[in-house]
């Protein structure tokens, strides 16, 4: 029977993440952005509630929660500050290729050391269709430039493409950037000159699953960003008076606010649906790509309108809505961007013969 209940455990996880975001991320979002760092106390606080290892296997001390928990947490953290949400998560999306390709042993070898050195960051670079980076591999190592990563240091760089991936942990040169959005996570251009390959994997199926899970996490972050943009601008529209009444009570804006609320829910429902498919062991590659496209499109409807509702104030950095707009755009540039995801979902669709099933049919 169709059921949208998260359950007590996930509700508790959600509440914990929300409290953390409200206590540690949102109040300091401009400070973190300016410093391009969230600072040690925030990192410590996050580590103390155990969210660093939310999805890690229990044998490595993790909570072994699933994709849905990750999505719920990511939304809450990003509603506080999406840049900070990246900064406090040492492995970030790089977790998925490690788990998919190498399993627990690889995670122990490559991932676990980052947890023991606070402030360490791994990052995942999409190196397949849609990437703008030019990475060359030879017997001597990896050479190339990565235009932007949302990190001020990268201790482990995982490259992912359609066929598999490889990891680099030495020979990574950082050049600091200002960054467009997500500045709290830092921003760098990375240069590699014959950097040694630490591990490599050839596994197209694992690569597809890793990419799907990465897309889903980014989509969940986008939901958080647009939710906060919609909510902030909704509250503002109730306070701001123009032409004799709160601007929210002019129908042009009340309809826009209703549509923005719909957008947030649309994106979240597709994220949850894809996460549910992953956890149910159903094929979820297309669903994750689809959730990413929806989240990116809806975020680029909601967040510019969040600025619009605040008018001139929205354009000023005294208010956070311009930041939400930059972050929505920056998040959806990752993993080959929206077009790559659209292409993946579109190719899956046109390979469908007969009726298109919108959802998973007939389990239990």
């Amino acid at each position: 029977m169709i059921d949208f209940e998260l359950g007590d455990e996930l509700e508790l996880v959600r509440e914990t993440a929300r409290d953390f975001a409200e206590d540690h991320l949102r109040p300091a979002l401009r400070d973190h952005e300016a410093a391009q760092s969230v600072g040690d106390s925030t990192l410590d606080a996050f580590r103390n509630i155990g969210f660093e290892t939310l999805e890690w296997p229990e044998t490595l001390g993790g909570s072994q929660l699933g994709a849905l928990a990750r999505c719920v947490v990511s939304e809450e953290l990003a509603a506080g500050d999406a840049g900070a949400a990246l900064a406090i998560d040492p492995l970030g999306p790089a977790l998925y290729p490690l788990l998919e390709f190498g399993g627990i042993e690889t995670l122990r070898e490559l991932g676990a050391p980052l947890l023991h050195a606070p402030g360490s960051r791994a990052w995942l670079v999409w190196n397949g269709e849609g990437t703008r980076n030019r990475i060359e591999r030879s017997a001597a190592g990896v050479t190339g430039t990565i235009a932007w990563v949302p990190a001020s240091r990268v201790d482990l760089l995982v490259f992912l493409d359609e066929e598999g991936g490889f990891a680099v942990s030495e020979g990574i040169e950082h050049a600091p950037l200002r960054g467009s959005g997500l500045r709290a996570a830092g921003a760098s251009e990375l240069t590699l000159v014959k950097a040694p390959v630490r591990a490599e994997w050839s596994d197209a199926s694992g690569a597809a699953t890793a990419l799907a899970r990465c897309r889903l996490v980014i989509a969940a972050l986008l939901v958080g960003v647009m939710r906060e943009s919609a909510e902030y601008s909704r509250r503002y529209a109730l306070d701001r008076v123009a032409f004799g009444k709160p601007i929210a009570h002019h129908q042009a804006l009340s309809f826009l606010i209703a549509d923005m609320a719909s957008s947030v829910d649309c994106a979240r429902l597709l994220v949850w649906e894809a996460a549910w498919r992953l956890e149910a062991g159903e094929d979820a590659h297309e669903a994750c790509a689809t959730a990413f496209v929806e989240a990116a499109e809806q975020a680029m409807f909601v967040t510019p309108n969040g600025v619009q509702i605040l008018g001139g104030h929205g354009f000023m950095q005294d208010y956070p809505v311009e930041k939400f707009m930059r972050e929505a755009r920056a998040l959806s540039l990752m993993l080959g961007g929206v077009d790559a995801a659209r292409e993946a979902a579109g190719r899956e669709l046109v390979s469908t013969l007969g009726r298109v099933a919108l959802n998973v049919e007939a389990i239990g």
Partner: protein, 395 residues
């Protein structure tokens, strides 16, 4: 969380699908081609009766009072949504034409006295022939603004005298009875509304005009008038006590709505039919190698999935008696536009073939527009949402 269709519901969907392929769609295409509602004596309706349809949901007896130990009753409108979507996939207009008490049934079940249920729903328990009930709220001057209905009800002894004009009532000219809404005092708004069962042949009920429509031609949308139409007091649904009792709850609004997601999911069904047809046409004509076309088809599938999830969620909330006004209106605001986009894209892929006016997608394109109008237009849904989100005033 479970976002799959359970296998029992899937079996019922498969049953609708069989009927849809063999009967519903052909009957719908026939009505569209001939430009008339399916006649009441069409053999299709006899067939529906034979397979157990055309019945009332009312079970023929009053349910026992819920005991405290039974716990909160969890509704099952989610399954109804799945069935309704599949029905609309095959033909929305035909689905409305099905024999049965129709939209008159819910007010009779929720407000009617035992005697009224027996009199008006009883004949639908084991109907001897295809029978219809009908429902008339909309007037030429009152659509979404239902509080503005002008049809009047005046007490005369033990009877009521009805006067006014009603529009777009489904199956009204063939119905055994019509649930007619009228007002005892227009200045009272909804508080003044009363529902009457007006039986076929009642003097003063007449001037039936079957309207000509853009689409959904398989069922009749009928306008009629009431001229000093005398209705016995026993046909006031719920009796006068019901309205006296309700007046005590003035201002109390229901916190959930089960109808909007049910109507919204019908749009999803139409949209799915358009997507499947568009995809098939594009494949036959070697269009799927074009990324532009793949992108647009991808968008349609994605938006239909979203629309369906919005409907499912609103129904799930209603089934648990949880507030869902925003969610219900959201589903109804989103789904019809998605479905229209699906049918419109289908037309574009057809190209000039769509211009011929004889392709299923072209019919769906005309049918689907109604979905953003019935059960509260998309604009009304946004107003409802805004009342909750930003306390949009009612004036």
């Amino acid at each position: 969380m479970n976002l799959s269709i359970d296998s029992e519901t899937q079996k019922r969907i498969d049953g609708v699908r069989k009927l849809g392929e063999s009967q519903i769609r052909p009957v719908g295409l026939e009505a569209d081609r001939l430009g008339r509602p399916t006649p009441a004596d069409h053999p299709f309706f006899d067939l529906l009766l034979e397979i157990g349809m055309g019945r009332s949901r009312w079970v023929g007896e009053e349910p026992a009072e819920d005991s405290d130990t039974a716990g909160p009753r969890v509704g099952n409108s989610r399954n109804m949504l799945c069935i309704s979507e599949e029905m609309s996939y095959w033909d929305r207009g035909v689905a409305v034409s099905f024999p049965g008490p129709g939209l008159g049934e819910p007010p009779l079940i929720s407000m009617g006295t035992a005697d009224q249920k027996a009199r008006f729903l009883g004949p639908f328990l084991e109907p001897d022939r295809p029978r219809w009930g009908s429902f008339a709220m909309t007037e030429p001057g009152a659509g979404s603004d239902v509080a503005a209905i002008a049809s009047s009800a005046r007490k005369d002894g033990g009877d009521w005298i009805l006067n006014g004009a009603k529009s777009f009532a489904a199956n009204a000219s063939r119905a055994d009875w019509i649930v007619v809404w009228a007002t005892v005092d227009p200045s009272l708004g909804r508080e003044g509304h009363r529902a009457f069962v007006v039986e076929r042949g009642t003097p003063g009920l007449g001037d039936f005009v079957v309207e000509r429509k853009m689409g959904l031609k398989a069922y009749e949308s009928t306008s009629f008038t009431l001229r000093d139409c005398r209705v016995p007091g026993a046909n006031l649904i719920g009796g006068e006590e019901h309205y006296a009792r309700r007046a005590g709850f003035k201002g109390a609004m229901r916190s959930f709505n089960a109808t909007r997601p049910l109507v919204a999911i019908m749009a999803v069904g139409i949209g799915r039919a358009a997507l499947d047809e568009a995809l098939a046409f594009a494949r036959e004509n070697n269009l799927l190698g074009d990324a532009r076309i793949r992108d647009r088809l991808e968008r349609i599938r994605r938006r239909l999935r979203v629309a369906r999830l919005l409907c499912w969620r609103a129904a799930w909330l209603a089934d648990h008696g949880r507030p869902n006004i925003v969610e219900a209106s959201m589903s109804k605001a989103v789904a019809p536009n998605v479905a229209l986009e699906a049918a419109s894209l289908g037309m574009e892929l057809l190209g000039e073939v769509g211009g011929r006016g004889d392709h299923l997608i072209e019919k769906l394109f005309r049918d689907v527009k109604a979905m953003d109008i019935v059960e509260g237009t998309g604009q009304v849904q946004r107003i409802v949402m805004a009342r909750h989100l930003v306390q949009l005033p009612r004036d």
